[in-house]
Symmetry: C2
Subunit: 220 residues, 2 copies
Amino acid sequence: MPATAVSCLTLNRLSLYLRCLRQLQRRGVHRISSQEMARRFDLSASQIRKDLAQFGEFGIRGVGYDVDQLLARLRGLLGLDRPHNLVVVGLGHLGSAVARHFASNHRAFRVVGLFDNDPAKIGQELEGLAIRAIGEVAAVVAETAAEIGVLAVPADVAQEVYDRLVEAGIESVLNFAPVQLRQSPRVRCRTVDLRIYLEELVYFLESDGATSRALGKPGR
Amino acid sequence: MPATAVSCLTLNRLSLYLRCLRQLQRRGVHRISSQEMARRFDLSASQIRKDLAQFGEFGIRGVGYDVDQLLARLRGLLGLDRPHNLVVVGLGHLGSAVARHFASNHRAFRVVGLFDNDPAKIGQELEGLAIRAIGEVAAVVAETAAEIGVLAVPADVAQEVYDRLVEAGIESVLNFAPVQLRQSPRVRCRTVDLRIYLEELVYFLESDGATSRALGKPGR
């Protein structure tokens, strides 16, 4: 099995454990056994034990895992113990919401640049940060050592802005534009296409209908 | 291979083709060969031909596929040729952006209900629709035959609101709350956790660092 396949699978589960542990911490839970965690979050207790043992984390029999300690350890493993700078390009409804979301909620992510090409938006402030012209993105990325670019521009300019972010030295892109981007091999990109998520849900709404028949599945 | 595995894989590729075909349509392209489509979007030409042939769609040699026709056919297969009603619960930054996004951009999805528990928001309008109290969700779902619920509430109330949507008869949930929900087997749920997407990107930013070593991968 290639190393990337292993790490992607593991990564997904670590992110999930992190989310569960954050929920427990918010509820004031300090200790949890793998069984109790599995029960609460619909996971497998033996998988939890196996995954965490891989990183030297063993729960104590009858006592379980220390929630705060385990959270800190997973944050470290995932590189979330230091802040990561991000810039947001495109401040329409979605881009603004995402900028606000990360500016106010997440210490691990620091919004250091906001960009748009609309003269009416340039110069305005969002979460205490001035919106700048897209032409300034390279200078800001260089100055702030921003690693992540959030792409929330219309579909027809997404490729152009993506290329500009890559050229500016951005290392990862979170893309909200509903387009298939021609990607640089150097830059990791995750596309979050809200329409595709809804389409997936619709497909399953319809799954006893035309699609199932076309796919040769037996009807329900 | 179980039927669900097949359909999920196929579904992902069909959604991707749909996105690519929409891009071509926007650019005024009426005909495209599998080779040209593969080249433009970094896909496999033989995979495209195989997938589409499964649904009786064969490109004509030297001419290719009819973009409009293929789009219409895929929309039909995916159940997107009729509108689907959705309600949005939680109208903070993200929920409002998602409501606006689907109200203005997508004919296949119709926003028929907006809900919040903040008295300052109830009664206000968004995209011509009045925001209502969460207590009215069951009545609205019954009245509008809404199938999809978009969950954009804070983490600590997400489970309660999810349960309420399920009870109201919602069939699918798109969840933006960063929580692991205890789910009804009857309702399909897709969680879009923006933080997890960023965490994935950060992991790869760091992948020549601590994580790789902990995962036993060779450093780059």
